[in-house]
Symmetry: C2
Subunit: 332 residues, 2 copies
């Protein structure tokens, strides 16, 4: 009898790092596909900052939290190893919300076959949540125009790096904010951003004045934290702020206050929060928008690969420490 491993969420996170006490690692017997079912062996699992939110008990969130005792939610990619389903053949590469588990027995709902010619890392780093989120946020709400200035926080992250490259390809002045010099160098030297700010060591106001002398038109917010106020203070009239992530505040006991709203009136600014589940119906259109940039070589990425399912638990803490170098993927 062969077994496989799954990870269940069994407690809610508290302020501070994610610990193994929140999870239960379970061994189960590998099942067999029944009528209409497929069995998928997950090969690559994505780690995303949104997962921190899914673990939290906030009933108002855009997606129900993971129930305690259930397999922790995650997106991933795997190979069909058994199929009694007409739409899937053994050997197909499929993607979807796989969860933190080595095997998935499913009727196939919510899983999509990956087109031939795409490797797993490109799928998870670009044509999945990161690229879709970047495309929806930037074009759905950011309204970028050539010649404008865009600031993106979490700029070396999976979403931020794509946002910046899309905007750069569109002719904007693009400034990225990241947490160490290696990331700052990467987004400028490799991704082609116009400038970078190390929010931990740079004089943020001085650096913003230097890199954004004409002010900021689009602020793509992935992190929260100390950068927010300084960018907010430099928004131009009719500026657009797209709020995609606030990782700096997700597990703090007392979230830091935001800016006073008077400048929203004086400068007629729009601040818009969004989350991808609202836009799943638009995925075909988003892919249509994104694909030419990728095919045109405008979107570079790098992956930070962890090995083995259980590495995912501590891996989530990399979103807090900023220790990852590229899209976080767990190889199974």
């Amino acid at each position: 009898m062969s077994t496989y491993t799954s990870i269940n969420l069994i407690a809610r996170p508290k302020p501070g790092p994610i610990t193994s006490e929140l999870f239960e690692v379970v061994e189960k017997e590998i099942p067999t596909a029944g009528p209409g079912q497929i069995l998928v062996k997950q090969t690559h699992m994505s780690l995303d900052p949104a997962m921190i939110g899914w673990m939290s008990p906030d009933p108002e969130s855009y997606i129900p939290p993971v129930a305690l005792g259930e397999v922790m939610r995650a997106s991933g990619l795997g190979t069909v190893v058994e199929s009694n389903h007409p739409d899937f053949a053994v050997g197909d590469m499929v993607r979807g919300m796989t969860g933190m588990t080595e095997y998935i027995l499913t009727d196939g709902q919510g899983l999509n076959t990956v087109p031939a010619g795409l490797d797993a890392e490109t799928v998870l780093a670009v044509f999945a949540l990161p690229g879709l989120t970047a495309t929806q946020g930037l074009y759905g709400f950011g309204d970028p125009k050539a010649g404008e200035t865009l600031v993106v926080s979490g700029a070396a992250g999976s979403v931020g790096s794509i946002v910046g490259q899309l905007a750069k390809a569109d002719g904007l002045n693009v400034i990225g904010v990241a947490g160490d010099d290696e990331k700052c160098n990467w987004i400028v030297d490799t991704l082609g951003f116009d400038g970078a700010i190390n929010y931990k060591t740079d004089d943020i106001p001085a650096k913003l004045d230097e890199l954004a002398p004409k002010g900021v038109d689009v602020y793509f917010e992935n992190t929260g934290g100390p950068i927010q106020k300084h960018v907010f203070d430099r928004m131009n009239a009719h500026g657009r702020i797209v709020v995609c992530g606030m990782i700096a505040d997700y597990t703090s006991a007392e979230p830091s206050p935001g800016p006073n709203w008077i400048p929203l009136i004086k400068k007629r600014i729009t601040v818009r929060g969004f989350a991808m589940p609202d836009h799943y119906g638009d995925i075909p259109a988003l892919l249509e928008k994104l694909t030419p940039y990728v095919m045109g070589g405008k979107i570079k990425f790098r992956t930070h690969v962890l090995e083995g399912l259980e590495s995912a638990i501590d891996g989530l803490n990399l979103f807090f420490t900023g220790g990852n170098r590229g899209k976080l993927i767990v190889k199974l």
Copy 2:
């Protein structure tokens, strides 16, 4: 030789009340209309919260501040007493940015003739900045839908009272926030709001829970202050916040912080600041939207009339104290 009075702005406001030291009251000789000119005798001048902003030196505001030494900016209504202009006849009632002055010598640019049948108070209280602002903010950005809940602060004010009545006519559950019981009674008993909160004496969270049991879909913000956080905390998914005024913070030395942005993501909220000068081109469409509500008897108003030009100076402080009862108008 006859003279008339004008009021020039000669200093910038500091935190605290508006004082007479900011202004210079000057006497001038009444001029005569030259070729192409008209002479207008102002009869009713409007006092609006926006004037506080126009006095401030913020170069980033949506409209240049009033230059020191110039007539203080104001909108108003008057009678043409001399005309050498084909579009204006003696006796016409005209409206526009008249300024704090008893007489205006002008080529007529920016002035519009008021249609017969409208009295001066209706023009200034409804078919001027208050009504246009309410209509633009509510329908341009608030996207109100029957059955939803709307909270409006400054609900007994010139803009807020119209916002609430429009929303009520559209079938929303309308809650107004005001600063004393008389205003709260007026918006419920006379204007037909579903509920009112006295932000100075009520237990705001308890009252909001009672009046908005299903949460808040549209928040029309006219004031800032302690109410903001509590309404923000109760916003529903896909809520819209329209930021029109922040009078509570306009002259404070240190504006109070706003809410953290995490809920903007979790609930996909849009916060939009606006100012009417961006929408002057839309005034015909706004009037077309607003007029049927007025003609249908859906929009009630009251005026708080001050007598004499110089009453305007201290009159501006009524926006801070909330001492006015209805649209502030200075009768000349």
